[in-house]
């Protein structure tokens, strides 16, 4: 197992490398002089020159790339001019908040989505199936930012069950109950789309598995139907559901950008949008590379989970 994990980690290196190249190439598309773009309207000729020297912007592209990569590997993501702070520090701070939000949502959508898919498949064409299918259609069609706004309107403004926005109360203790009450609405809003997608795919994965011969064997053994569904069929269906979960984690992470805007959540997504509007290119670059790298590592964890579930995968 340890060998397998190591192997997967090693295989991530070219992917990480590729990611850095892609980000670098995209950033190289910036029209005009990069130093001016990075410094924005604050640029003075001296500053531009200094930055050019610091970043090696006067050197050829390939050389510049490796300087940039070398700096990042050493933890130097550059300095954000709009915040006057090291990019990595800012990204790490913000990423924690995103992780809480997206992580909660991911757990929610995995559990709810799989459960809904299983129930839907088990009661195919029944009332529960139809209700879930409709809810799923609604869920995958509603823009999460619109849903978030409506949730604020109903549950925060009208019913006053939850705070309107933010991660912590402005006054008062920053404890777990406070976090949960702030987290509930954004986490739910963020989970809805992915729940729908997961439910849909879980349903079809379950239908596929329920036709298999080993399900008939379980029934022939006298296994109660509930256990046939939840123990035999779901376990086998998880083999095709888990990769979907991995993909959906990316969508949750993406959707977090909108939800962070709607709920004023101090996460990395809001940071990126602000940085783009401020044209703080280094901050955008650093944030994108960092989050993408984390996502690659997360997908390795998904692969490992898959190999734990399925003994037929060679580890």
């Amino acid at each position: 197992m340890a060998g397998y994990i190591l192997k997967r980690l090693l295989s991530a290196i070219p992917v990480l490398f590729g990611i850095s190249v892609i980000v670098f190439v995209i950033m190289a598309m910036i029209p005009g002089d990069p130093a001016t773009a990075i410094l924005g309207s604050y640029a003075t000729p001296e500053n531009v020159e200094k930055l050019n020297r610091d970043l090696g912007l006067d050197k050829p592209m390939v050389q510049r790339y490796f300087i940039w990569l070398g700096n990042m590997v050493q933890g130097d993501f550059g300095r954000s001019f709009s915040l006057n702070r090291d990019v990595l520090d800012e990204v790490l701070d913000r990423f924690g908040a995103t992780l809480i939000l997206a992580g909660t949502s991911f757990v929610l959508c995995s559990i709810l989505g799989v459960a809904a898919g299983v129930v839907s498949a088990a009661r195919q064409y029944g009332l529960a199936d139809k209700a879930i299918t409709f809810a799923v259609l609604l869920g995958i069609s509603i823009p999460s930012f619109f849903l978030g706004m409506m949730m604020i309107l109903i549950f925060a403004v009208k019913l006053r069950w939850f705070p309107v926005s933010g991660m912590w109360p402005i006054y008062g203790a920053r404890d777990v109950p406070a976090l949960i009450s702030h987290l509930t609405l954004p986490a739910l809003a963020l989970a809805v789309v992915a729940t729908g997608v997961i439910a849909r795919l879980s349903r079809s994965a379950m239908l596929e598995v329920l036709r298999q011969d080993f399900i008939r064997t379980a029934r022939a053994k006298g296994v109660p139907e509930r256990a046939v569904i939840w123990r035999h069929a779901l376990r086998a269906a998880m083999v095709s559901i888990i990769p979907v979960l991995g993909v959906q984690a990316g969508f949750v992470l993406s959707g977090a950008v909108y939800i962070e805007m709607v709920f004023q959540w101090p996460g990395v997504g809001r940071m990126l949008v602000d940085a783009i509007l401020q044209r703080d290119i280094l901050l955008v670059q650093g944030g994108v590379v960092f989050v993408a790298a984390c996502y690659v590592l997360f997908n390795i964890a998904v692969d490992v989970a898959q190999s734990l579930l399925d003994p037929r995968i060679k580890t």
Partner: protein, 631 residues
Amino acid sequence: MMDFLRLLARNRLAFAGLIVMGVVVALAILTPILPLAPPDVTNTANRFQPVLSEGAWLGTDHLGRDLLSRLMWGTRLSVAVGFAAALIAATLGAGIGIVAGFYGGRTDNIIMRGIDMLMAFPYILLALAIVAALGPGLMNALIAVAAVNIPFFARNIRGITVGIAHKEFVDAARLSGMKDARIILSEVLPNVIPVIVIAMSTTVGWMILETAGLSFLGLGSQPPQADLGSMLGEARSALITNPHTSVVPGAMILVIVMAINLLGDGVRDALDPRLKSGALSRPMPATKVDRKTIPYQGDNTDDSLLNIRALETQFHVKNRVYRAVGGVDLRVAPGQCLGLIGESGSGKSVTALSVMGLVASPPGVITGGAAYYKGEDLIGAPYKTLRALRGDRISYIFQDPLATLHPLYTIGDQLAEAIRVHHPVSRGEARARAVDLLKSVRIPNAESRANSYPHELSGGMRQRVGIAMALANDPDVIIADEPTTALDVTVQAQILSLLNDLRRERGLAIIFITHDFGVVAQLCDHVAVMYAGRIVEHGPTNDILRAPAHPYTARLMACVPELGQGRRELAAIPGLPPMVDQLPAGCAFAPRCDMASAACKTGDIALGTTQTGRAVRCLTPHTTAPVEVEV
């Protein structure tokens, strides 16, 4: 194409989506000539007019602009941008995919590596990076959304192209000296277009949502121009005081995306029949039973354990009815072994599975007959009764244990489960009994084997596990469905003798399904021959082996002379068994029978009984009477 439209129209939800989308697109096209207020003229004195106010049906926004007008113009913009992004992504993605798939080798490798890298990003990061580089703006948002979706198309189309690139007609075109570009245009492209359409129909909704999202973040359309996303973004600050300004554009996005999703599902179902709903229906816990009459059990003095009477099982697929089992009577007593023999498709497995309600349903329906176990009718018995008997009193051994054992549980766990669902024993005890069971079917190193997964065992071992599972609760009846078909001769003989021993030792009743007379000869005291869902001959094994009375039995025996040669699928009988949805009138075997006469093809032929306990369904049976044979 007409077929496609007809299929689409049959799907009511998709049709509704089509209509909604049609209306939206029509309105979007007509927006410039509709009598609407100018969308960008501000009138701060008139700001935040509520819905249904004078001169502004949907009210006005924070700058006093007419919401209805802005909604229409915004919809026009959002839909146009979404479709444009989808078209760009589809064109470029398909182009890349076709090139990669068509040329293969290094080209393919490099391109797909790049695509994989792009897909390693959470898509919005990529879109944000592109917008960050190009700067905010609707055009740049469009480019970003299109670019992010290219990998998805490229990967899909490549897969299809790889399949096509190796087809004969492409090879032929190559040999005839056609240029690659022409082959791609004339041979490959027409075949991938349906796939492109499916992929587009399922992603357009996404792209509209995504561009609206970027606009919502302030990175897309810039004021005063507004698509639905930026309308929502601008309305956000007034969400609490004037929610209607948010609800109007938000609901519009919802309606559009939902209509597209419905339509997309419909398009996919129509173009890709494999995914059509209904093709994938799950089998119920027990076969559906729909009996008109319940046959009388017969004399109660009968010593049989399992008594199947006039069983009829059908498959209802769409409007067609397949009569898989058309009135079968069978019985077994303790210690007896009954062979049920016939070609594949003769209905022998369905007969066996019907007993415990294990025929997949839908499409299976038991339409008649009964199966009495110790006097209790199992057909139509409540699920609870069936479940309690399944695997406990009556158990099955299936063919192909690689498919019939759960791939993700160890065989020890699967055996222990078989015990624990019927007996309240501890895990440890169930485990110990599982190991004992493995030993009793002569699996070496049973303790360590119990921790193996099915795929780690050989075919013979797996079959023994299947037998051990059937024996787990010391059942009264075992129904074995071709348990030796996939095995080689030695293993087959071992398993047969194992079953034979168990029958002697435990007084098991066995119904043994096979198409191999050699196997029947070794194990069974009685044999029933099935053809086209009915029993055509029935009697003591030795009698039938010596003097088959039905022409079909005689043919079957001629095909399979020796034990262990049974892997041939009886190809030696000329002709094929009839489709059970179009049985000929009269004798079902008539089209293949040498002795068929006109009379054979008219009336129904009864299963005639002779005084020696044999039964034959034939007008002119082979006449060697069994009494004349020395046993």
